[in-house]
Symmetry: C2
Subunit: 338 residues, 2 copies
DNA sequence: GGCGTTGTTGCATACGAATGCAAATGGTTT
DNA sequence: AAACCATTTGCATTCGTATGCAACAACGCC
């Protein structure tokens, strides 16, 4: 059935050497005479030989593969992370096995696949990890790094941007720019990013003697944010500021305010988002938002993974990276902010 | 160094059977007594055994892996395709190995990696394939399917939406809605999607006795489209319609017209995009555009791949899927269009 | 009870490359 | 020419699982 591929043995025969010699030609630091090497490479080229990395993985017991688990790809923010992760892993000579995991049960089958696949590390991009699999990974000393999801399992590493600080900054900024009735639209309640932003935000308001006048729940997507906006603005007095837990929703808020409520941004309502996605910079929105250091987060996460793979022992580390406020025209500004 | 993982041999020892019996418990349709199976599964569970799919791949000579090559993930259109592809492959029991390939030289190293990885099929999402690698894939009977990139190599399959027809529709529609000075912003010149759209568009204009008043080049991204817009509108008489080769650019055009030129859409200028990305539906844009059947394209591409893998012989097939016009408020409409 | 039939099981081998070890090679020194 | 060393090479084994084949058991049938 399957077509036989060219093996090192055939190359060896053609070059008149042993299979070992062929192998040594394709592994760095191996002892091989330049002349032999040349002859072998010529034979390999002639036959179209490529080392079979599956066989190599089996004998060396290292797949040089990292599994990446994601829950959504429609958010450009995570798509960009995947982009960075992919290029970065390629640079380090690792392959990237991609898995999408939605509900609980799908997640179980995905984790099963990953464990069988002999991936050497797992990168979770905004995806959840069940406690039992976390344990199983630790038991097999497979490092796991979660990005933007907090979890309390022993041995699981985390990289996150400082969502609390970001939320705090928004609260403080809106108060200082003179907003009085400040509303919040959350993301998925189970996502720690949303809850952290929320907590920081409320703490800042409280510190300045304010409180959050209204809250609604979104799902990080356009439609729910639109519904949330209608809910927030269903009765006067309207909020004069809305903090949405991500840009995607903030943009939905702006669109809804303008097209359905006839309100202006920022004159009538200030809007703040989170993520600094490309859309936030578009002239139509000019959204004030917080930039997560996407690239650094991914780079840091991969560094953690590879370090743990190299050292051989998994350790639950926790990195928090600072967030940068991006001030644009979707918010009133009564004073200069650093 | 490497921690030894639990093998079928250890499970066999614990269950008091041979290694073969353990293997048979984990392969469907194998001959195994229910009682033995139960005993083995219990032992496997106790030890935390998972079959090593690398060893399995080596002996069965099938990796059950598809390599996906992309050039960009910042375009949500392709991110969505990847999403669909991933879930679909998972359903079929295949793994997805992701590669990003930018320039020529990177592409060569990526293709080398793929060939070594023993992937059973290659899906190119808007990425280019060099002639030599196409040949090498055919020689190894590895099926290759390209989505939205045309290529003339023997044995390489293609799935595309009917870009020509889409472009034709736009040309016809703009003429019929009374536009007089119709401009075009292209995508990357080497992408067949852009050239096909362009060709259909020009043919339609010509058929109706019009021509394209001005053209500019974009790169499918926001910034270049903005530059292109400035170029198109640097002198009067302004175009009264712009067809951008994708939504991303169309949105950039609208933003630039509104914020920099003080022009209204669609009163002063009609704008048409391509792709029907989520942004196109946002209230601020209400972009008339053409919807590519993303899901069908990917599903079709994967069906082609798997069929060729099963049958064992690669064949260069070519599928064109119809495109659906989505009429929104970014264009004037002087007559009812189907 | 002997025989054929069906269903299970274990043995042995294969997949393709990496690598420890010993043998062989080649060059240099005494 | 012998002895020595450094380098290169081949042999044999290994990784963990699948599978053809033969042995075997259980069972019903004549």
């Amino acid at each position: 059935m399957k077509k036989r591929s060219v093996t090192s043995l055939e190359v060896a025969a053609l070059a008149g050497v042993s299979q070992s010699a062929v192998s040594r030609c394709f592994s760095p630091n191996a002892s091989i005479a330049p002349k032999t090497r040349e002859r072998v490479l010529a034979a390999a080229k002639q036959l179209g030989y490529r080392p079979n990395s599956i066989a190599r993985s089996l004998i060396t017991r290292s797949s040089r593969t990292i599994a990446v688990v994601m829950s959504q790809l429609d958010n450009p923010f995570y798509a960009q992370m995947l982009d960075v992760a992919s290029r970065r892993l390629q640079q380090h000579g690792y392959h990237l096995l991609l898995f999408m995991s939605g509900d609980e049960q799908e997640s179980a089958s995905v984790m099963g696949e990953i464990l069988q696949s002999q991936a050497e590390g797992i990168l979770m991009l905004a995806a959840m990890l069940s406690s039992s699999f976390a344990q199983e990974c630790v038991a097999r000393s497979i490092p796991v790094v979660m990005i933007n999801r907090t979890v309390t399992f022993e041995g699981v590493s985390q990289v996150a941007s400082d969502n609390y600080q970001g939320g705090y900054w928004v609260g403080e900024f809106l108060v200082e720019s003179g907003c009085e009735r400040i509303a919040f639209i959350s993301g998925l309640p189970e996502s720690s990013t949303s809850t952290e932003r929320h907590r920081g935000f409320l703490d800042a308001l409280a510190f300045h003697g304010h409180c959050c006048c209204k809250e609604a729940r979104g799902d990080y997507d356009f439609a729910t944010a639109q519904a949330a906006t209608r809910e927030l603005f269903n009765a006067k007095p309207y909020p004069d500021a809305v903090f949405a837990a991500n840009d995607h929703m903030a943009v939905a808020v702006m669109d809804t305010l303008r097209s359905e409520m006839g309100l202006r941004v920022p004159e009538d309502v200030s809007v703040v988002g989170f993520d600094n996605t490309p859309v936030a910079a578009w002239p139509s929105y000019q959204l004030t938002t917080l930039q997560q250091p996407i690239e650094s987060m991914v780079v840091e996460a991969i560094a953690l993974l590879l370090a743990q793979i190299d050292s051989g022992n998994v350790s639950g580390e926790y990195k928090v990276l600072p967030i940068v406020p991006i001030l644009r025209a979707s918010t009133r500004c009564s004073k200069t902010v650093i």
